[in-house]
């Protein structure tokens, strides 16, 4: 039996709006970190996802992700164009809110995930090939992985848990970012010039909006205004803040000064890392996960210099690594005492669940990386290159790709 709860519906409607706000928030977060000549191009890459992915989602994406299961791999196209997705609740996904509300809530996740990848392509990707890549990526990576874990697919059936998208959102986008940085190659001057963020207050505004929106992302993933939503909300805040504190502290000891960019990066690392675990762990475990995230991702963003890939705005080091750590930490810290519909992890005497989570990290990481690589190579070959010409890169993509400049005095 299903019946619509006014409280639950109010909560998920507002949560969907909060998650939508994260994409403009991300646009500002990234926009502030690039050079002034690329700020509009960077913001545009996030912004346009609201249109591109929403269209894809309504026509095929929702059905592929959450429609009737086919062999555990993908949803069928039975819900094409939202056929049959109405105001009656879905007994499977969320029995107390209209089905269409669940659909639009999930749409906002699909929108932000390819937007996250853009940080790795910043300052050098052509806009046309970027759109084609994002559409293909949503169809071939996001929709299937989302189905595997949340839509009744094979990973969910094996007992893999991902509360709000450590695997589905952060690991898929992080792995794609690594592929994108490798295929695109480093920006002109990478490793020799210092690419200064052109507007750090803008980045901090973006951080604030992301943090705010993340309460809808994680809290709303309970799909009801209940105790689990409370747990997820509190874990989210504590994970984010602990990682911010840890990142700033390490930076202070290691480089001599605590930076605002470090605070922003640490907060996002913590929020990304706590995402898969949010509704399954208690407050004290959330703080520990946050501390681990702050330290690990601080180290993670130094890897690009060692390996020479230009992950311009640290999508791999923050979202990819954060998704991995969060998913594995969930395998360690999960507790049925906190959420009876979750699982017990390693510390609660269930090492098997930790193994399941590690398996999921490998499968999703490898799948997302390989398919992203293939898509990028194909788009690169078919569209005459995914990278802007050198003159455009020097001039900036705002003018080169959009015929605009952001700041005029």
């Amino acid at each position: 039996m299903t019946h619509i709860s006014a409280g639950d519906t109010a909560f998920i409607l507002v949560s969907a709006a909060l998650v939508l706000l994260m994409t403009p928030g991300l646009a500002l977060f990234y926009g502030g970190m690039v050079r002034g000549k690329n700020v509009l191009g960077t913001i545009m890459q996030s912004f346009i996802m609201i249109a591109l992915v929403s269209i894809e989602w309504v026509y095929i994406g929702y059905s592929m992700s959450f429609g009737p299961d086919m062999g555990g791999l993908i949803g069928s196209l039975a819900w094409l164009g939202l056929n049959g997705v109405g105001t009656a609740p879905s007994p499977v996904y969320a029995p107390t809110i209209p089905h269409i509300v669940f659909m639009i809530y999930q749409c906002m996740f699909a929108v932000i995930t390819p937007a996250l990848i853009t940080g790795a392509m910043a300052e050098r990707m052509r806009f046309g090939p970027f759109l084609v890549f994002s559409l293909a990526w949503t169809i071939l990576v996001y929709n299937p992985v989302c189905h595997w874990i949340w839509g009744g697919g094979w990973l969910g059936a094996r007992g893999v848990l991902d509360f709000a998208g450590g695997l589905v959102v952060h690991l898929t986008s992080g792995a794609a970012a690594l592929a994108a940085a490798m295929v695109l190659g480093p920006r002109k001057g990478f490793g020799r010039e210092n690419f200064m963020p052109h507007n750090l207050p803008m980045t901090l505004l973006g951080t604030g909006l992301l943090w705010f929106g993340w309460f809808g992302f994680n809290g709303g993933s309970a799909l009801a205004a209940n105790a689990v939503a409370g747990t997820a909300f509190v874990s989210t805040h504590l994970g984010g803040m602990a990682a911010m504190a840890m990142w700033v502290l390490i930076e202070w000891l290691h480089r001599g000064k605590p930076t605002t960019l470090g605070a922003a990066s640490g907060a996002i690392a913590g929020l990304a890392t706590i995402t898969p675990a949010a509704g399954f762990v208690g407050p004290n475990a959330a703080i520990i996960i946050g501390f681990i995230a702050g330290a690990a991702c601080y180290y993670g963003i130094t890897l690009k210099m060692k390996f020479g890939y230009d992950d311009s705005l640290d999508v791999v080091g923050i979202h990819g690594l954060g998704g991995v750590i969060g998913t594995i930490c969930l395998g360690i810290f999960a507790s049925k005492a906190v959420n009876p519909s979750g699982a017990n992890g390693f510390l609660a005497g269930n090492p098997g669940f930790l193994g399941t989570q590690i398996f999921a990290v490998l499968v999703v990481g490898i799948y997302a990386f390989v398919v992203s690589m293939v898509i990028l190579k194909v788009v690169n070959a078919l569209m005459g290159g995914i990278r802007v010409p050198e003159e455009t890169e020097i001039q900036g993509i705002d003018l080169g790709e959009h015929s605009e400049t952001a700041y005029n005095r």
């Binding site: 006014a6 909006l209 105790a227």
Partner: protein, 404 residues
């Protein structure tokens, strides 16, 4: 448990969290560009520092089992026993959610103080001050009023934090401005805000978040929440208007900064009264707040303390006016759980409010001065003259805000 109440309080908590980044931008736009990141950072990092100590001992000191009406004991340290069933403070939402809602208030309060010592405080000294101030000033006063302490028992009304947050931070700001001293060049140079559009954006986010702050303080999605929501809106509009009218008359031009400051003054003043007064009273409270706080801000140059971003004038004076106004305008006709004020035939309530104001001012002032002196002795409050000249962004954080 009620899903409507839980939904509302989840969202209200998120809204109050957003006020701290909003405040960061409000303050960030007002300083010179060489200090914008340091100013933003002082608010932002409170999200980290205060959250940690809140979980470890702050929530327990504020709301835990009462010790002599003064402070909570440490039974709830590390959130021991704070679970997902409704707790003693809110019967229809998870106890942990109440704890999170209150945490957001504890975060923004020390962030408010930072406006007073903007552009000249060492980051390390700021962190130490913030931890000590939250521990010895915020947690006890929060307990006095809301956590079962002596002021609450006396009958003092503070709907959403006029005394706990605004008087408290305003008075600490006065102490800080005096102890740390004036900025280099104060009184000779004009310190122009470097980015007023950033300040207006911050004011907008604060106004938006304040609906969570005040309406959420009803702790349920019912009649009192609606009243608080509405009074918040009209008082704020009234104060923004009265500030710019006063400014127009006295200084010839209505400014955007005046509109933003006036809105903030109205939000502050209505905070303690929001759930206890009628909408018409709220408009009066707002109109008075706009003029009063404007005058208070003008006074600082005469009195000679450098409250850089007007924390004393807006939060201190606005908070005092709001707390006293609650004693004038409160009526049980709109909220039976409140009280009648002086204008509704109960002068005793006004006296109780005055006692609350006096106690908060005295306690916060004395403790804040002591804490500031201790921090000054241990690590020094103020950056060197050269660092101040160069700006805090580069000297404290090795960053610059803009390379446009």
């Amino acid at each position: 448990m009620n899903t409507g109440d839980t939904a509302f309080m989840l969202i209200a908590t998120a809204l109050v969290m957003l006020m701290t980044p909003g405040l960061a931008l409000f303050y960030g736009g007002l300083v010179r560009s060489k200090n914008v990141l340091a100013t933003i950072m002082q608010s932002f990092i409170c999200l980290g520092v205060i959250s940690i100590i809140w979980v470890v001992y702050g929530y327990s000191m504020s709301f835990g089992p009462d010790v002599a009406g003064f402070v909570g004991n440490l039974d709830w340290a590390f959130l021991h026993g704070v679970g997902l069933k409704p707790g003693p403070y809110a019967s229809t939402i998870p106890d942990l959610l109440f704890c999170a809602f209150q945490l957001m208030f504890a975060i923004i309060t020390p962030a408010l103080i930072t406006g007073a010592f903007a552009e000249r405080m060492k980051f390390s000294a700021f962190l130490l001050f913030t931890v000590l101030w939250a521990t010895f000033v915020y947690f006890p006063i929060c307990h006095w009023v809301w956590g079962g302490g002596w002021l609450g028992k006396l009958g003092a009304l503070d709907f959403a934090g006029g005394t706990v947050i605004h008087i408290n931070s305003g008075v600490a700001a006065l102490a800080a401005a005096i102890v740390i001293g004036k900025r280099k060049g104060w009184g000779h140079e004009a310190f122009h805000p470097h980015n007023l559009t950033m300040t207006i954006l911050g004011a907008g986010l604060l106004w938006f978040g304040w609906f969570g702050f005040n309406a959420g303080s009803a702790l349920s999605a019912g009649e009192t929440a609606v009243l608080a929501f509405f009074t918040t809106q009209v008082a704020t509009g009234a104060a923004a208007l009265s500030w710019i009218v006063a400014e127009w008359i006295l200084q010839k031009k209505p400014t955007t900064l005046g509109a933003a400051s006036g809105a903030l003054a109205g939000l502050v003043a209505i905070t303690p009264a929001a759930g206890f007064v009628t909408p018409m009273s709220a408009i009066i409270i707002g109109l008075v707040a706009g003029v009063l706080c404007y005058m208070a801000v003008l006074m600082k140059s005469r009195l000679g303390y450098d409250d850089a971003l007007d924390v004393v004038g807006v939060h201190g004076v606005g908070g005092i006016w709001g707390a006293l106004a609650t004693g004038l305008f409160a009526t049980v006709a709109v909220n039976p759980a409140g009280a009648n004020g002086l204008f509704y035939g109960n002068p005793g309530q006004f006296l109780i409010q005055a006692v609350g104001v006096g106690a908060a001012i005295a306690y916060s002032l004395v403790l804040s001065v002591i804490i500031l002196k201790i921090v000054d002795a241990v690590i020094g409050l103020r950056v060197s003259r050269e660092d101040e000249q160069q700006g805090l962004d580069i000297t404290q954080h090795s960053e610059i805000g803009y390379s446009l």
